[in-house]
Symmetry: C3
Subunit: 139 residues, 3 copies
């Protein structure tokens, strides 16, 4: 049994940027010597989140609409009065969606569906350099 | 320390079917030789999700109403234009709720509350054969 | 590789009480002998949830507003007819937000952002004594 910590660093556009991490995650698993266990994907920061969905252009638009309905960009957030950086909507969306996902792997393969990609949602209102922690535990 | 991958396969009705997995999960833990660790429950596919709630008929209706309010069945989703299968609402609901849950166990028992069941939400618009991955790590 | 189960017990005010657990979690990690692995935080019970956000007074109000919009206190929930305890809104909010979070740690430190705190949301409509399970796996 081994534990491995890896990181994905990437530059985002912010503003609800939705980025497919699946290829990165498959590479990390492939480069480890592990075949059975779990992978935890955790985005560091309070204005981004992790989830899974079918990464195609229609659904990408649908997810952006959902987040806008749940926590509208133009709403008057109390958080904006604290820091004046205008990204209250980003924080609220990130907290609701959540920063973390744990995916089992078996026989060297992540147990994702064919149409199920792991997606980083960057809800911030500006370009960010993001760091995603990827932890593997298994054998 | 050991790692075990198990699977639950089950047939669902789709259309927001909410299925209590707790008994299956307790059996899997009981059949392992593990007493302390974590169980990760992950539904494979992009139109289903995992959460916990009190599995009783009133709350089951309340959860269905919530999902309908958050991502209405009849909305015109961009995803529907991609594939024409009419289940855009299913994908959006699944992405928001999330596919994964990790539950600690101690002294051979899952650390769930008395009124806290683990529930598979199948949001698809048709019958599906579902596979839920259940990973145990512990000793 | 080791597995450790710890618990945080705390008294809450209910009614959407949002409590910062980060200090407790750092203490648990510090008191273990582990430097690399994952920490799973799981709230036992069906009317509370775990997430991360920047724990400051403005955002605390924003999150309370979000939960009220998603599952209003005064709505007529079916669950309230089952038990008559009037906390249907609490159950619905808890199920949507989810009870669990898994955070990697590396070199003895939880991989949280500077402005990213781990928060217990107690959605119940009364004071509760809460038990949060904290599981560490690593080396």
């Amino acid at each position: 049994m081994k534990v491995i910590n890896e990181y994905i660093t990437l530059s985002t556009n912010g503003d609800g940027d939705l980025i497919d991490l699946t290829g990165h995650l498959r590479n990390i698993l492939g480069n480890s010597t592990l075949s059975n266990g779990i992978m935890t994907v955790f985005v560091i920061g309070s204005t981004a989140a992790i989830t899974t969905f079918e990464y195609e252009s229609g659904l990408i638009k649908d997810m952006k609409e959902l987040y806008e309905e749940l926590a509208p960009y133009g709403k008057n957030y109390f958080h904006n009065q604290t820091w004046g950086d205008g990204n209250g909507f980003s924080h609220v969306r990130a907290a609701l969606q959540g920063p973390s996902l744990t995916i089992p792997f078996d026989n060297g393969a992540l147990l994702l569906g064919t149409w199920q990609q792991v997606v980083l949602a960057d809800f911030d209102n500006r370009h960010r350099n993001r760091k995603v922690a990827v932890n593997l535990i298994g054998e």
